[in-house]
Each structure stands twice: as C-alpha cells, then as structure tokens.
C-alpha cells in the first residue's frame, strides 16, 4: 500500500539529462517559493496592525531593488533557457545509426511495424543500448506517443511523419501512453515497451514472420500497384527511377530543391502533384485514400532499400519475388 511511486523510472540515456534540469528547477523553485512565503508570513506577523488608525510607512519604492529583481530573474531564466535548449538539442537529434521502427496510431491503438517484418499492437520490443528511432504517423486524429520512463513524447499527426528517438539503458517493461486527447478511449490507448537484452532481442526477432521484411512487402506492392511500369531504371520510364533517391536532394519542376526524406516520399505517393521532379510530367495518380498507412510504410521502406548501384532488389531479406 505504501509503495507509492513519487518519481518515474529512468530508462533512457536522455532521462538523466532531463532529470538533472528538473532537479535544478525544483531546487530553484523551492528556494524562491520558500523565500517569498517566509517573507510574507514574517512581514504579516512582524508588521501586523496594532491599532485601528495605524498606517504603514509611506515608502514608494527603491530603484536599486527594482533593477535587482529585474536583472537577476533575467539572468536565471536565460541560464535555464540554454540548459533546456541543450537537453532538447540532444532529444531532437538522433544519432546517424539508428534502429528504425514505424509506428502508426489510430483510434485507439498503436500499431508498430518493424523493418524486419514483425508487427505488434500496443507493444514495442527494442534492444538495450541501441538508439531507436520511431517514425510515426496517424490514420485519423492527432495522438501522442509518450514513454515517461524514456522522458520522450511527440504528437503523432495524420498526413505526415514525425520522429523521436531514445536509447534504452535498462531492460524491463515501461508504459506507453497516448498523451494527446483522441476521443472516447483515449485512456485505453496505452501499451508497453519491452526493452530486452541484445541476445533476447535477437531471439525475439528470429521468431520471425511469414510475410518477409517490410521492404519485400513494399516491393510486392510496388508491382501490384503497377508503380514499376513508370518508375523503372531504363529511359522509357515516365517517372523517375527511385534507386538512391532517399536521403538525397531532388530538383523540382520549379527548380527548387528538396531533400527526399520520409515525408517527401509520403507526399509524392499520396499527392504526387505537390512536388514534381524536374523533367517529368505530373501524370502520376494520387494514392491518397487508395492505400493504407501500413502499405505506404512498406512502399517507403522499399524505396529506401533501393541503393543506387544495384538493380531492384529488396534489402535485408528479399525472399519473395
């Protein structure tokens, strides 16, 4: 009964940095709150009114004091700002090598899609000690993927990808919450992260899936949807060949340049007319509403898997052709 948690578990590399700033702020707040409380209580007692006609000293102010309590708070707040910005910088910047996992939120569940093909619902398995990058979107309303033990959180927005990353430090299971109100069963949109030792994680991975990797599913879809009639390596393609596109810059019709990240690929599939590659006509149909978010993920993962040197071939485990 008296096992009341007062402080959250700490399970990621960033958690310690967030907590350090938090403790600093708690100390600072405690100091100023006590200072003010002590002063007002002390003044209220020391200078209490002793007879009905008494008046206070007719003091109007003091410039030095005013400057003091303007400048000192300014300095303190700027210190907190830079500290907070530094922590945020680390939070927003994933390392170069990450384990990428896709997350799709929908009313009211979290669908997790691993690149290796495993799918989970309201569960997320990750290994200890490896930075994990979650690439997330929503099928309907705004959700928010929050893991308090990792001190990370991000709104999951329909129509685009957002990403967060964390590096788990301790094996164990931790709560996932939906932190942005999303309708009737908002509070039921919860799940668990299972952080596993690397060996256990490998074992879990090899539990495998019959469907093959995400990229291989994407490759099949690429053919089923007849994408490959236009997006082909030879010169007869009416669309650009996609190998090596991901992560590089693309020149558009209006001669502006964009970087082909996940959001660009999403837009180019869902609403191809929005950003047309230079030298091509806006002839591709919009797939908005025609494919699911999960099919979209498969297609994107397939495009990402196409490396420039090679012929079309799904990357990690292209088993089904």
């Amino acid at each position: 009964m008296f096992d009341i948690p007062l402080f959250p578990e700490r399970a990621s590399t960033i958690a310690g940095e967030v907590d350090a700033l938090y403790f600093f702020l708690v100390g600072l707040s405690g100091f100023f709150a006590l200072l003010i409380a002590t002063l007002i209580v002390a003044f209220a007692i020391r200078f209490r009114r002793r007879h009905a006609d008494e008046v206070g000293a007719q003091v109007h102010g003091g410039l030095l004091l005013e400057i003091g309590w303007t400048v000192i708070p300014f300095i303190i707040t700027m210190v907190i700002f830079f500290w907070g910005a530094k922590v945020y910088f680390a939070m927003a910047n994933p390392p170069d090598e990450t384990l990428n996992i896709y997350v799709v939120g929908k009313q009211w569940m979290w669908k997790v899609q691993h690149v290796t093909g495993q799918r989970e619902i309201n569960e997320l398995h990750v290994p200890v000690g490896r930075p994990v990058r979650l690439i997330m979107t929503s099928e309907d309303v705004i959700h928010d993927f929050s893991i308090p033990a990792m001190r990370i959180k991000a709104d999951v927005i329909p129509g685009r990808f957002v990403q967060i990353w964390f590096e788990p430090t301790n094996a164990g299971t931790y709560q996932i919450f939906c932190a942005e109100y999303c309708g009737t069963q908002h509070s039921a949109m919860i799940g668990r992260v299972s952080v596993m030792e690397p060996a256990a994680y490998q074992a879990w991975l090899s539990g495998g899936t019959a469907e093959g990797s995400l990229a291989s599913r994407g490759e099949k879809l690429f053919a089923d949807l007849a994408c490959n009639t236009c997006h082909r390596p030879d010169a007869r393609g009416r669309g650009p060949w996609l190998a090596g596109v991901f992560g590089h810059s693309v020149q558009l019709q209006d001669s502006s340049v964009v970087t082909a990240d996940e959001n660009y690929l999403r837009e180019s599939i869902m609403q191809p007319a929005a950003k047309v590659t230079a030298g091509f006509q806006p002839v591709m149909p919009a797939f908005q509403g025609l494919i699911t978010e999960e099919q979209l993920l498969a297609l994107i993962e397939y495009v990402k898997s196409l490396s420039p040197a090679e012929q079309p071939q799904a990357q990690p485990a292209g088993t089904q052709r």
Binding site: I40, A44, L65, V141
Partner: protein
C-alpha cells in the same frame, strides 16, 4: 456611532425587472454579470467534482469514458470562457472602473449592457450544447478531431465561443475608451489605481486576441459543416495551423484571467498594509509588459506538436521573458508588506494566499518554458497542476479577495468576518491538497484527460479528489454568507477598511451617478492615512 445606510443608492433606484434588464448603470450590469458568472462557476465546479470523484479509482467507476470526456471538456469550456475570462473584468471591472476614475459611467453604457446580453446568448448556446449531446473535444477543440471525428455538438459549441468572444471584445473596448477619455480632473495615468492598469492591459489582450479565436472557431465550424479544407490533413490542411491560431489567443487568454487578479492583489496589499504599493510604476508597466510579451510565447504549447524545432527554441526563449514582469510584481507586493500596517482581515488573507500560490504557479511555468523538461511533462498532470495554480490559486483567490474587499461597497453591508476567514482557510488547504499531488503525478507521466489510469497512481489521485471535496465546501460557504449579509449584514459605511481610493469616498452602496459632484484628484491613489472617511466601528 452606528453607520447609516444611504437613503438613495443604485440598488433602490428602481425595483422592477425592467429596471435591471434594461439598466445602463455599470454597477447594475456588474451585478447581472455576478449572477450569471456565479451560475456558470458552480456548473463548471460541479463538473470538476464529478471528474475528481471518477478519478478516485483507477478504472473510473463513476461514469463512462464518453461521459468523462464530456465532463472535462465542459468543465474547461465553462470555466475558461464563462467564468475565468469574464469574472474579474466583467464583475469587479464593470463596478469599479468608473468609480476608480471618478466617472459617472463607462463610455458606452448601452454597449456594456449589450456585452452582457451577448454573454448570456453565448452562455445559453453553451447550455444548449450541454443539453443536446454535449461536447467531447476538450476545450482546445483540436482539429481534425473536432472537425471530423467527434460525434458531439462541435458546431454550436464553436459558435458559442464565437459569440461569447464578442462580449469580452466589447467590454475591453469599453474599458479602454473609458480609461482614456473619462478620467476625472487631476487623474493622470500615474494617479490611477493599479487595478486600472491591469484592467487596461487585460482589455488590450481582449481586443487583440479574441478576434483570432473567433475566426478560428468559425473556421472549425465551417470545415465541419461544409468540408471546406482548412485544418484537416485529409483535405490538404495542417492541424498544427489550428493550434497556432488557437494558442495565439488562448495563451494570452491566460493573462486575461490572471492580470485582473494581479490588479486586485495590488489594491488589497496597499489597502491592508495602508501603504503605497512598492514600485508603483514598475508594477504598472509590468502589466503592460505581460500583455505585450504574452502575445509572443504561444508556441510553448506546441513543443511536441510537430512545430519546427527552431520555432520551438524561439518560443522557449520568449516564454522565459514573461517570467520577469511576473517576478517584478511578486517582489513588489512582498516589499509593500515591509513596514506596513498589516491587517489580517479576510481580503488580505486571500492576497497572501494569492502571492504564495501564484509564486508556485509561476515558478512551475519555468519548467514548461524550458523545452527539455517540457517534452516530458507536457500533456500530463503537471500541466493541469501548473495552470490550476495560476487559474484557481491565482485568479479565483484574487477574485474572491476582491469580492470580499469591495462587497461592502457593492452591497453596502459587511459580511461575517469569522466565517469568511474560515472559508479562506478551507479554500487554501483544499486547493493545495487537490493540486499539489498532481505535480508529482505529472512528472510520473500520468497523461491528462485520462478516464482510467494505472493503479500505481491511485494514492495521489485519491489525495487530489479529497482535496477537491474540501475545496468545493470552501467555495460554497461564501455564496451563502454573502447572500446572508445582503439582508442581515451590518451597514458598512462609506469606507469600512480605512482604505484610500476614489471608490471609498462615495457612499456604500454608491448613488446611481456614483459621485454627487465630479471629484478632483490631487493625490496618488495610495495616500495614507486615507484622506477620506476614517474607519468607523
């Protein structure tokens, strides 16, 4: 010795229902607001009690999840739009602005009455929403949930917000023009009571921010009704744009709620220490500073919302700047108490409570302005605790303190001192018990707007629920004893507190024209001993 009740005053200047519903007297309109706002306060409060009762157990056994969602939504909508925003400006502001500047009325009395009717129409639309299916979008009404997915009465609710907005715009407009154009001879800007500075700053926010929420609510209604694309990604819109528009108003709206309370506290501290407010001009300009800076910080509500990281940094830094004028106020109030003649009468207890609770609310704001910590605590109970420390610990303490302080002026009678002290103490204890545990819950990660929660959070939630029931009792008491005092309270006399300020120079209750002759001001508003009638008791 016995104080006589004046023979003619605004309350007995006509008795019929028409003399109230068609009145143009700012004091009567203030009372009309008092009745309507009190009604909504208790409706919103009843929802709060139900929310806390439901949260006493982890699965939320009292109501269903849909009902729960409607409860917190209607609690938010009613408390924000129908209680906190109008409370101090429309009741105390309406009553006091002309009295404090020595005018006969506001610049536009008919417009003032119109504001009240608009408020009532908006309120009736809110009641209509309540009775015909409710609203479950949260008071924030985020798209695309509100514009497509919710099955509740979003359109009438959005229109209710649209309509009610014009009430606060017109009230703000009235105050601005009145303060500029209607001051008594000798009443320069720096002879004005600080309550007027904060009312002026509040009015600025009202007229500059409210139109943006009005147009946003309208766009939500249009998108939902006609499938016009503005915010829904399925139509090519950006839901984050809704949040920008929403918070452009709704962050400054926090200052609409707290600034008037700060003005009240300045008056209370001066009156109950019988001392000029320390650093008058700093306190005055900090109100304007908050109003202006308050418009530059809305993005701190959106650090995890998909906003660009660079914008987040800008908003984070600007947010810290708002802390400074708030700190200036707190330090100056504290300094005012030094060498004062500190009375422990009820309004001063509220003022002391305000300073303490607002300090905590303000300091926890630093946690939220700091992006690194904000990411972890945003959308959790930490936020709930923080803004209730500002809204309830700040605004409601200020409102009740002001209501007690000016009650003798409004009603002409004294309220029972012992009972009022007791209720102030109950409110202070109940408040802290309700909301302090929520800071801990928030850092633990408990998300807001959760109908069911993991069992390990139960103890803290039960504490909070227990506090809420104490708080509820604390709020009911004043309603009864203030009503009781209307008939049985001792006549107050013109200046029961021995306070300075023009409003204490006229009778209690004041005559319809406020002052028999237009006063001429020669001194600062906080000149002690009060040049006017001494304390008689």
């Amino acid at each position: 010795m016995a104080t006589e009740f004046p023979a003619h005053h605004y309350l007995n200047d006509g008795y019929g229902i028409k003399s109230w519903l068609l009145t143009r007297d700012h004091k009567r309109i203030a009372l009309l607001y008092l009745i309507a706002v009190t009604f909504f306060f208790f409706v919103g409060g009843a929802f709060a009690v139900l929310i806390r009762l439901d949260l006493a157990t982890p699965p939320g056994d009292l109501v269903s999840d849909d009902t729960y969602n409607q409860l917190f939504t209607m609690h938010g909508v009613i408390m924000v739009f129908f209680f906190l925003i109008p409370a101090i400006p429309a009741i105390l502001g309406n009553f006091l602005v002309p009295l404090m500047i020595g005018a006969k009325d506001l610049a536009f009395p008919k417009l003032n009455l119109l504001s009240w009717y608009i408020y009532i129409i908006g309120g009736l639309m809110g009641v209509y929403v309540l009775l015909t299916g409710g609203l479950d979008t949260g008071w924030t009404m985020y798209a695309p949930f509100s514009t497509r997915f919710s099955t509740t009465r979003v359109v009438p609710a959005a229109l209710a917000i649209f309509v009610t907005g014009f009430s606060s715009i017109l009230t703000g407009l009235n105050f601005i023009v009145t303060i500029h154009k209607m001051r008594a001879p000798g009443m320069g800007w720096f002879n004005m009571p600080l309550f007027l500075w904060s009312t002026y700053a509040t009015s600025l926010i009202n007229i500059l921010g409210t139109p943006v929420i009005a147009i946003t609510a309208l766009l939500v209604a249009v998108e939902r009704l006609f499938r016009f694309g503005f915010f829904d990604p399925a139509l090519g819109g950006d839901p984050v744009l809704f949040q920008h528009l929403f918070w452009f108003y709704s962050h400054p709206a926090v200052y609409i709620m707290i600034l008037p309370a700060m003005g009240v506290i300045s008056e209370l501290v001066a009156a109950f220490c019988r001392k000029p407010v320390f650093g008058y001009s700093f306190v005055a300009f900090s109100s304007l500073g908050i109003a202006v800076l308050g418009f530059l910080v809305w993005g701190h509500h959106m650090f995890v919302a998909g906003q660009s990281v660079y914008a987040s940094l800008i908003f984070s830094m600007l947010s810290f700047l708002v802390a400074i004028p708030s700190a200036i106020k707190v330090f100056n109030w504290t300094a005012t108490m030094y060498k004062g003649s500190v009375s422990w009468q009820t309004p001063m207890l509220y003022a002391i409570g305000f300073i303490g609770l607002f300090t905590i609310g303000g300091l926890t704001g630093l946690f939220l302005a700091s992006i690194g910590v904000n990411v972890h605590v945003t959308d959790t109970y930490f936020i709930i605790a923080h803004f209730h420390y500002i809204m309830v610990g700040g605004t409601i303490m200020g409102y009740l303190g002001g209501l007690h302080y000016w009650w003798p002026k409004i009603s002409g009678r004294l309220y029972p001192e012992g009972l009022s002290k007791l209720s102030a103490a109950i409110i202070f204890i109940g408040f802290n018990l309700t909301f302090f545990p929520q800071f801990i819950l928030g850092y633990l990660g408990m998300p807001r707007r959760y109908h069911a929660y993991p069992p390990e959070f139960q103890v803290l939630n039960v504490l909070s629920s227990a506090g809420a029931s104490i708080l509820g009792v604390g709020y009911l008491l004043p309603m009864f004893y203030l009503a009781w005092s209307l008939r049985y309270g001792k006549p107050a006399g013109a200046n029961p507190w021995g306070a300075s300020g023009l409003e204490w120079t006229t009778t209690s209750p004041p005559p319809t024209e406020n002052f028999p002759v237009t006063p001429t001001v020669t001194e600062s508003p906080y000149h002690y001993p009060s040049p006017v009638v001494k304390h008689v008791a």
